[in-house]
């Protein structure tokens, strides 16, 4: 059975997960207790602040990519060990998500450079941080730029600002996001909330 892993929860004890941790999780139906598939990758569009769904792999002997995709609307829960769906009918082969999954190739922000609007490179996006309960994307994990003071070479966590430009090669963030960068995932949820409240109050310090 599953070993105890370090869990990352934010102030509201929401479970935070990396997109890469979701890959490989079984997709299990609550109604039957059957594993229907396995998560291949997340479908994410940086213009929307949440996961759109998942691409799937067949489990077992017939292992390999499936045509069917799982839209977020069919997801009942995302946990450490499984993605839960109500029943097998929620996966779909056609429709907007299937098209999105092909066009965006899942998550094209990974590998992007992160630049502040003052012209500093903070690092490169290495992963997406997801709130497990809602599928909301809270931020990105970065491989910190070697020149970055105090953070050199360490993984960093960047909250997603309300407005953000993504070009497919680079991600533009306001310089005001920099103080909210965290070295570790614990406390990251609080940093996201702080940053958002700062944005909504309109005050750039």
């Amino acid at each position: 059975m599953s070993e105890h892993r370090t869990e990352n929860r934010d102030a509201g004890s929401r479970l935070l997960l990396r997109a890469t941790e979701l890959a490989g999780l079984p997709v299990v139906s609550i109604a039957e207790g059957e594993a229907l598939a396995e998560v291949k990758d997340v479908v994410y569009n940086p213009d929307q602040g949440h996961l759109l769904g998942f691409t799937l792999n067949q489990r077992g002997f017939l292992r390999g990519p499936m045509k069917a995709v799982l839209p977020m609307s069919g997801v009942a829960g995302i946990g450490r060990d499984a993605v839960m769906v109500t029943d097998a009918d929620v996966c779909e082969e056609k429709g907007g998500l299937a098209a999105e999954a092909q066009s965006s190739a899942g998550r094209n922000v990974v590998g992007n450079d992160v630049l502040t609007d003052t012209g500093h490179r903070l690092g490169e996006v290495s992963d997406i941080i997801v709130a497990a309960d809602s599928g909301e994307v809270l931020g990105y994990e970065l491989e910190g730029d070697p020149k970055l003071q105090g953070h050199a070479g360490r993984p960093l966590f960047l909250p997603i600002p309300a407005a953000l430009a993504v070009s497919g090669t680079a991600l533009m963030v306001p310089a005001s996001a920099e103080p909210f960068i965290r070295d570790d995932l614990s406390g990251f949820g609080a940093a996201v909330d702080e940053f958002r409240s700062q944005l909504s109050s309109g005050g750039a310090s």
């Binding site: 004890s13 299990v28 109604a31 207790g33 946990g79």
Partner: protein, 162 residues
């Protein structure tokens, strides 16, 4: 009584007092939280004793009306259950939030009615009303509602069952 304690006990016919097999498992109906049949024997020889034909389940034997009351598995679900394809004892217990609680150690049931009272999992007791599904991948249970600390244990101590 615990299901684990009945596994391996003899199945004895009430009309002939003959041992006709051993308990190898149980067929569970999730909707009614009920053990609906005991599995007698295993493999292609496996047969089922409906709960109605069982006169008593004790620590030493399960007594059925007679050998004639045993039947073969009907339908996909019973056949898979008999084949061991449906995870029961030893299967992983998964919450509807997607977290594994551990392996299903045992099932406590009422030996009169066959009604399931609690699931025993990783030293915790899960009330049967949280049971949602029993499948080949997992036993699915509703996660604890306590929004605060999502702990593993329900009630700390309980008298040791039968």
């Amino acid at each position: 009584m615990r299901l684990g304690d009945t596994i391996g006990t003899s199945v004895v016919a009430r009309d002939t007092a003959e041992t006709i097999g051993q308990v190898h498992g149980a067929v569970v109906d999730v909707a009614s939280r009920q053990i609906v049949a005991l599995q007698v024997g295993k493999g292609h020889k496996a047969r089922l004793a409906d709960w109605a034909s069982i006169t008593g389940v004790g620590p030493d034997a399960a007594v059925v009306d007679g050998e004639a009351s045993l039947r073969s598995a009907h339908g996909e679900r019973e056949e898979r259950s008999v084949k061991g394809d449906i995870a029961l004892l030893g299967g992983r217990v998964l919450t509807d939030h997607g977290d594994v609680l551990g392996a299903l150690d045992d099932i406590e049931f009422d030996e009169q009615t066959g009604r399931i009272d609690t699931l025993v999992c990783a030293d915790a007791f899960i009330p049967a009303d949280r049971l949602l599904a029993v499948g080949s991948y997992a036993v699915v249970v509703a996660a604890e509602d306590s929004s605060g600390s999502a702990g593993a244990s329900d009630d700390g101590e309980r008298p040791a069952g039968g």
